[in-house]
């Protein structure tokens, strides 16, 4: 179920990337795409009614329904990377706006 939510978000993100020409909207679409990917990754390690993969005194160590911690660690990293790219994208968009007074790539056209 969660997987499908992730895939749906990915598709929405791609749709946005294919249709809008507005730079900010493109970045938002990219973020939706990344969000979808992150949810998808979480779903890989998700176990229903699973436990946190932390050894504590009251949890038997032979328990099998641990949530896989690796995808979560990955998502954490991916979120940070996505944040970096978004920040940079916004900065670039701002620079473009400063030059052309618009965020619309179709208005700017091919920059030579």
């Amino acid at each position: 179920m969660i997987q499908f939510a992730g895939i749906a978000l990915i598709l929405i993100g791609i749709y946005g990337l294919m249709t809008t020409k507005h730079m900010i909207k493109l970045i938002i679409a990219l973020n939706v795409l990344e969000l979808g990917a992150n949810i998808f990754i979480i779903s890989v390690g998700f176990v229903k009614n699973g436990l946190a993969p932390i050894l504590t005194a009251d949890v038997p160590s032979d328990l099998l329904n641990f949530v896989d911690p690796l995808p979560q660690a990955m998502v954490l990293t991916a979120i940070v990377i996505g944040f970096g790219a978004t920040a940079l994208g916004l900065a670039v968009a701002r620079k473009v706006y400063g030059k052309y007074q618009t965020y619309d790539l179709s208005v700017i056209g091919g920059e030579e």
Binding site: I14, L17, M18, K21, G110
Partner: protein
């Protein structure tokens, strides 16, 4: 032999250094270097079969390689005499001198190559170094076309070379190429790909387009090398593809025309087409150098047909024609260069009457064109005669007709510069020019003497050719004293020369005895008080063959075809650029999705 390459390699560096200091000095050095090369290669004549390796390049001395190398060195050596006087016209004289020697190294290496890789490396080296020389002439476009057409040939040959090496497991030329006796299907492919470099380099129709451009606009000192020398590299490839490559065995099962397998016959037809096309176009030319370039196309046809025949007479004729054409065309180009040096032009309608100022150059040109047209007693006659003999003996009527057409046509085109440049009235502006300087005259006289000698005593060369034929296992041409014997009869060129000599003497005596003619100047004309604004139009070299040219002036030319091809490629590139490299991120994301969908749908099946 390795020593020769090392020596030439060092001397090209030295000539660069010298030329940086003093261009003329470096240019004189090219004469010395090429002479040293000539002598040292000549001394190798008895060491056939010796192999040597230089790093990863392997060389072997063969009779045919030696013969080709001697031709090339002769041309390079004699043309080098002109180098010192053109240094001030070149923008990069040092590069010219060193590339001149580099292309020499490349060509000699080609002829002595023992393995296919060495062959190709030397080939390409000669091509790009000569291309960079042509660039220093009048036209960048010409150098470019030269490179591209050569590249078509050399990439095709590279494919053949690599496929041969892969299939046969060896790179040694004889061993690798004879492998195909057992694999005729691959052999046919390799043959076609391999010979293409030869065809492009000889300038066989339809690859001839680069010759008039490159020969016509190369520096005047390099045109003789291009036409007399580098074109012969192609002949060597053609030689390898029929003589070393077992072409007649590979195509043994194919349809035969008068005993010649169809693919080889097809190539001969291309040769014949070059003869006809080259001749007709040469007649049209206004520029003396372009005219000679087209004549090289025609002569290349003879050489190709001769070599492809692989028989007793035509093959010998083809190999001998190589030398004759090299000597004659180098001499003719040098003569035109000498004229251009004094007058600054090679346009025939702007010249005229140069004989009065440059009689030696005139003589050189006269003898060169007699040889090119194949008129006895010059060398060209012997070789063309042998090719005729071979063709008619086999009954290849179509080819023989083309050859005859080319022979007669060549009278027309060689006569045009003769009369337009040298004879007729001297234009007023050239009243004060002088004969070419002694250094240039020396070079031209060497070539003229060779032309004459080859005509009178062709057996000097035919003996070597007979040796090559024996090595190849075909009937050698029979030489007996001064006579050359063939199955249809014999010719003794010494006798021919004696007869012609007497005729010449007779005419000379008549000329001396009869009253002298009066010289008529170009402006010495009746114009009924009209002022002459353009004396050039009065010059009889102006639209020389107009009535004849009108017969075929509308015929399509090949160059536009290449231009259109280049344009189509550009358009395809433009399409790819606008389609796949659109500056729109949406489009790019779309493409990612398209590829993903294609893969998923394809994988689902």
């Amino acid at each position: 032999m390795t020593m020769i390459f090392i020596f030439l390699g060092l001397s090209l560096l030295l000539s660069y250094v010298l030329s940086r200091k003093q261009p003329t000095l470096g240019a004189y050095f090219t004469i010395i270097a090429s002479l040293a090369g000539l002598i040292s290669v000549y001394l190798l004549r008895n060491s056939v079969g010796v192999t040597e390796s230089f790093y990863y390049l392997n060389f072997q001395i063969t009779t045919i390689g030696w013969y080709f190398a001697m031709i090339l060195l002769t041309v390079y050596f004699t043309s080098a005499f002109f180098n010192p006087f053109w240094m001030d016209e070149l923008i990069y004289p040092a590069a010219y001198n060193s590339l001149y020697l580099l292309s020499l190294v490349g060509t000699i290496g080609l002829f002595f190559a023992q393995d296919l890789m060495t062959l190709f490396i030397c080939w390409e080296t000669a091509v790009w170094s000569s291309m960079l020389i042509v660039q220093q002439g009048k036209s960048r476009q010409a150098a470019w076309v030269y490179f591209v057409i050569s590249a078509i040939g050399s990439m095709s040959t590279l494919f053949a070379v690599l496929l041969t090496m892969y299939l046969s497991g060896t790179s040694e030329i004889t061993g690798a190429l004879t492998y195909f006796t057992t694999a005729p299907v691959a052999g046919a492919l390799v043959f076609g790909a391999f010979i293409l470099a030869g065809l492009t380099k000889i300038g066989i129709f339809p690859f001839h387009v680069w010759l008039p451009l490159a020969h016509g606009s190369a520096p005047h000192t390099f045109s003789p090398v291009l036409s007399g020398g580098l074109v012969k590299m192609g002949a060597y490839i053609a030689y390898l593809s029929v003589a070393v490559f077992p072409a007649y065995q590979v195509f043994g099962d194919s349809l035969k025309i008068q005993g010649v397998p169809l693919p080889i016959y097809g190539l001969m037809i291309l040769g014949a087409a070059s003869i006809v096309y080259g001749t007709l176009r040469a007649i049209q030319q206004e520029d003396a150098k372009r005219l000679l370039a087209y004549s090289s196309v025609a002569n290349g046809g003879y050489i190709l047909i001769g070599i492809l025949m692989m028989d007793q007479m035509a093959f010998a004729g083809g190999l001998m024609h190589l030398l004759n054409h090299a000597v004659a065309s180098a001499a003719a180009f040098l003569a035109i260069a000498a004229v251009a040096k004094r007058t600054g032009t090679t346009k025939m309608s702007e010249l005229g009457g140069i004989i009065h100022r440059m009689p030696i150059t005139y003589t050189v040109y006269l003898i060169a064109i007699i040889s090119m047209a194949g008129i006895p007693p010059m060398g060209g006659f012997v070789s063309k005669w042998l090719i005729f003999q071979g063709l008619s003996e086999k009954g290849l009527i179509l080819l023989a007709t083309a050859a005859a057409f080319g022979s007669i046509g060549s009278y027309m085109y060689v006569f045009r510069p003769l009369s337009a440049v040298f004879l007729g009235q001297l234009a007023p502006k050239y009243e004060h020019i002088k004969e070419a300087n002694p250094v240039m005259v020396t070079a031209m006289l060497i070539l003229t003497a060779m032309s004459l000698l080859l005509g009178v005593l062709p057996n000097l060369v035919l003996k070597t050719i007979a040796k090559i034929q024996i090595e190849l296992g075909i009937n050698p041409i029979i030489v007996n004293g001064t006579a050359t014997l063939t199955e249809n009869g014999s010719v003794d060129m010494l006798q021919v020369f004696t007869v012609f000599g007497f005729g010449f003497l007779l005419i000379l005596i008549l000329f001396m005895v009869l009253p002298k003619s009066r010289r008529v100047g170009l402006m010495d004309t009746y114009t009924s008080a009209e002022f002459i604004h353009t004396p050039e139009l009065l010059h009889y070299g102006h639209s020389f063959y107009a009535p004849f040219e009108r017969l075929y002036e509308k015929w399509p030319s090949v160059l536009p075809l290449y231009k259109r091809m280049s344009m189509k490629l550009s358009e395809l590139g433009e399409w790819a650029e606008s389609f796949f490299f659109h500056p729109d991120p949406n489009r790019a994301v779309l493409w990612i999705v398209v590829v993903a969908i294609v893969v998923i749908i394809g994988g689902a099946q």
